[in-house]
Amino acid sequence: MSKVTSAKRVPAEQITIEGLTGDAAIAHALKQCDLDVLAAYPITPQTIIVEDFQKFVANGEVDTRVIPVESEHSAMSACIGASAVGGRVGTATASAGLALMWEILYCAASMRMPIVLNVANRALSAPINIHNDWSDSYGARDSGFIQIYTQSCQEAYDTTIMAFKLAEDHDVLLPAMVCIDGFILSHNVERVEMLPTEAVHDFLGTREPVLPLNPDDPITMGPLALTDYYFEFKEQQDEAMKNVPKAFKKVEEEFEKMTGRSYGMYEEYKTEDAEIIILTHSTTGGTAKAVADTLREKGEKVGVLRLRMFRPFPTEEIREILAGAKAVAVFEKCRSFGAASNPLALEVRTALYDLDERPMVADFVVGLGGRDVPPTTIVDGIRKTEEYLEKGEAPLYETLGVRK
């Protein structure tokens, strides 16, 4: 159970409004979450988060110990050590850093450590590229982390705060990844409304660890479990993941009382009578909504389903929303080499498979390595989807915006 706090609407005069980049917004959120420990290691485009946080430390603005680790592998390891003794813990990374953490992501999830990891989504090498796509966090989609993708600096700020409450919920106790698009959001200045720190403290309370490493009550954590028990551990982890939607709803309700803002596991935009629904997330969701507005003006029935939560995947809800459409145009910034299609479309197709009447799914891989995804690319995809509807068949996936 998560502790129900008595969240009250924060009066307007107590809200601080600033122009912040996505990274800075997250650093401010982390500052207000009263972390015990933050592990810091630089990687573009996340670095500003840990830099800004260190500045807060240098100025005595936070009660947090920063561990300037020697690698991301150690960053996640230190987070686990700190979380194991009962601390509230966070770190941030991207791309190669997330890849280096990979082994330890699984440990964090399976050891049920409610760590919050901010990811500024960035392409993976080679060739080296510092710009945005989702290959990094999609690669970690089966690690057992909750994954939430955000569209604006405000949303990144709000979601980071909520992520701690969600992760620390006793029905959940799973680590959470809060993702922003590298550069597009991480380095883009937007208007951000910030809560007074006390309100965030009241909202989160202090972490109540369930079974910490404690000399008074010694336990063994992270043991060896073979064929006779391992599977049961995984089953419990799965149960925890299934508890996320309910806990998340509760967390958001509380947050909404305080701020008037909530986001849901996904955002539905003009989907009600839509014939073609664009399904995507992060900043591409914003572009897609602008495209939908324009096409609606021309009388085209286009809507957008902007996903926020990718793990757990809101299968049931998405199935219901998509069921009425003629086609779903998936836009995703990741290629799963050798797979039938790509991570997001694979998920959507699976969700729809059991329906008697399924909308057609068209999968467009866009924006790899930061290639711009302007509204015209989305429109291209919609036009292609219309063609496929006419033909009655769509390819499993195709790339848009690449020189061929």
Binding site: I67, G81, N214, I219, A225
Partner: protein, 313 residues
């Protein structure tokens, strides 16, 4: 705080019987000796390896004190996290114990090789923890593969002895000196045979302010192909032959030879250490006689160098 050895010996054991280490393995002995040096609440962060695997087979555990394992290469980083979190939670009034010692343990593989980056990082950050390596000279848990801690001439399953190769050809990484070069307050080598020396050094390691390092030789009957009854004898011979001399390094500079090593008039020949171990068998054939002599030269060289560094009389 002066502590009597007698009092330390009366403390509760931290490892129960019924763990599943091999018969004659020195690692559990080392852990028990460490346990007797503990001064209060302690948390152990352990790297993957024999000791971890064999003492915590779920749903059982042999550990009577809080213990955590995360992975092979990160015991020091986990310790860093635990240490910092405890400190800050105490400051915030959320941690009851006035002081908790954090100890990290790893095998030679998890220390000399894959875990070295995380160890070096934690030392550089000056985290107040004790790192202990139980050095059985190879990756034993995965079936006797060479490590940076493997002696020259040792046969392992990735450094076979044959007609062309005499087992491992390279020298052993001087881990204690490398670690001490971080200018940490205390580093020392120990052997379970010299248990007084062991316990006293471990306590000293706990008491210094900042990181400390303990390097324990840990005979492994399975990998060394030695009699399980000979482990403690071998940990004595390792010292007497100069394969594992006992010394301390204070603040990265001051070298002190420890009594058991200091008392040696001269080193015993390495043969005495090698003969009882199947892993060195090939060195006693004509083919590898020369290499054995080479190893003896290396050991002599290192010993002379060490004595020179040990300024104290």
């Amino acid at each position: 705080m002066a502590t009597k050895l007698k009092d330390m010996l009366e403390t509760d054991e931290i490892l129960s019987s019924g763990h599943r280490m091999c018969a004659g393995c020195a690692a559990p002995v080392i852990v028990r000796l460490m346990g007797q040096a503990l001064r209060g609440p302690t948390i152990v962060c352990e790297a993957t390896g024999c000791l971890e695997v064999a003492t915590t087979i779920y749903p059982y555990t042999a550990w009577k004190i809080p213990w955590i394992h995360v992975a092979f290469e990160n015991a020091s980083a986990v310790a860093s996290g635990a240490f910092e979190a405890i400190e800050v939670m105490r400051e915030k009034g959320r941690y009851k114990d006035e002081h908790v010692d954090v100890v990290a343990i790893g095998g030679d593989g998890g220390t000399f090789d894959i875990g070295f980056g995380s160890l070096s990082g934690a030392l550089e950050r000056d985290h107040d923890f004790v790192y202990m390596v139980y050095d059985n000279g190879a990756y034993q848990n995965t079936g006797i593969q060479r490590s940076g801690g493997t002696f020259p001439g040792q046969e392992t399953t990735t450094s076979w002895a044959g007609s062309e190769l005499p087992g491992k050809t390279q020298r052993k990484k001087p881990i204690t000196e490398i670690v001490a070069a971080h200018k940490i307050p205390y580093a020392a080598t120990v052997s379970p045979y010299y248990w007084r020396d062991f316990i006293k050094k471990f306590r000293k390691a706990l008491e210094v302010d900042g990181p400390a390092f303990i390097h324990a030789i840990s005979p492994c009957p399975r990998g060394w192909r030695s009699e399980s009854s000979k482990s403690i004898e071998l940990s004595k011979l390792a010292v007497e032959t100069g394969m594992h001399p006992l010394y301390e390094i204070v603040n990265g500079e001051e070298y002190n030879l420890s009594t058991p090593s200091k008392r040696l008039k001269e080193l015993k020949p390495i043969e005495e250490y090698m003969k009882p171990q199947g892993q060195f068998k090939h060195l006693f054939t004509d083919r590898w006689e020369d290499f054995r002599e080479q190893i003896q030269e290396w050991v002599n060289e290192d010993w002379e160098l060490l004595k020179k560094k040990c300024t104290e009389e």
